[in-house]
Amino acid sequence: MTLTTREKIVKRAVKEIKDGMNVNLGIGMPTLVANEIPSDYQVLLQSENGLLGIGPYPTEDEVDPDLINAGKETVTAVKGAAFFDSAESFAMIRGGHIDLAILGGMEVSEKGDLANWMIPGKMVKGMGGAMDLVQGAKRVVVIMEHLSKKGEPKVRKECTLPLTGQGVVDRLITELAVFDFTEEGMVLIEKLKDISLEELKSKTEAEYSISPNLIEW
């Protein structure tokens, strides 16, 4: 079986999740990470509309219009879940009680800036809870494809799109590589075996150093 680009990214992203964590998964590709969490892990998924402990999608019989996730999809709640209002939900997020947020991105800069909510000239839809999540979660991991559909770099020296947060990304995962954002700048820590350092560099506008412990997969 060959994995699609998204599947590759999701497989790598799930390794960020440790047993016992409270995790917020963004809308879109990050939502797919939920299916890959090891079943013996005690992980609670937070939905910023007021649920800690998202369960699987409901069966046809279980569908409940009063129970949705932040993507407005019908879901279920696991044992041990709690419901709360939106102020409490963002108290959790803003107050640093969510261990990990995995979010999609449009662009990430070498300083760890993230842009993922607005394309100038296009209709503005809104940032939802993304700006709160990138500031509040203890750890922010962005997952996105390495290049845009047009083949342009999305890992930038500076974001060209309006920011969601400044210096907020802890780790970036693409189908080609994994980068950390540290006090000393952006560092390549993992890459695909099949891609040379040169090729990766040519596909990445951002400047980064290479970890002495670089891992290849």
């Binding site: 299916n35 939905s47 910023e48 509309n49 007021g50 649920l51 369960g55 699987p56 999608y57 409901p58 069966t59 046809e60 279980e62 569908v63 409940d64 219009p65 009063d66 129970l67 949705i68 996730n69 993507g71 407005k72 999809e73 019908t74 879901v75 709640a77 419901f83 709360f84 209002d85 939106s86 102020a87 939900s89 963002f90 997020i93 803003r94 800036d113 607005m118 209709m123 503005v124 839809k125 809104g126 940032m127 939802g128 809870g129 993304a130 700006m131 709160d132 500031q135 509040g136 309006p162 920011l163 969601t164 947060g165 400044q166 210096g167």
Partner: protein
Amino acid sequence: MSKVFTSFDEAIQDLKDGDTIIVGGFGLCGIPEKAIEAILRKGTKNLTVVSNNCGVDDWGLGLLLANKQISKIIASYVGENKTFEQQFLNGEIEVELTPQGTLAERIRAGGAGIPAFYTATGVGTPIAEGKPTKVFDGKTYIEERAIVGDFAFVKAWKGDKLGNLVYRKTARNFNPLAAMAGKITIAEVEELVEVGELDPDQIHTPSVYVQRILVGDHYEKRIERKTTRKKEEVY
């Protein structure tokens, strides 16, 4: 002296053109369906609407948009709505996008008598433009202002005749906050019970926040994105 109304039209009688209304709900979940329908019938114009979302084209607050009753929206996400898109591009409607957590906290602050607070959310982004900032312990924060509504409209699961409210699952969302921040808060419920039937330890919105309460029938509770799994599927 009773807070119990039987007609939604009567309950919103004193809503005026130009009023600011705070509306509970997230997406189409936990929205005050019946009050929105009454506002549509009344045709009140130039409303400033504070709500996380603005409904879909043919349901929820989208109905008021389509009827051109809204002149300004304060929301975190307005993405599911073509009517909105058109009115925005025509300059018919003003939008104040606010991060969801900041929006929730601004409404709570309005209800709690806190005129402003600081948050790191939005620092270094377009949201920070024009807002005062302050540094605490070496980190920069934005000052955000409270929101108070002339009216707040909320939807609860059960309520008693004094106005105590209980919400169900994720239909709670912005409703308890909206209830706090309305000068006049109008609650609609699926079931209206006698005073004393709700457990005082389990009330989500104490009666002090609710000025008028009504029971609605035949809630449609429309689903925006029905997603299901097959029964045998293991998650």
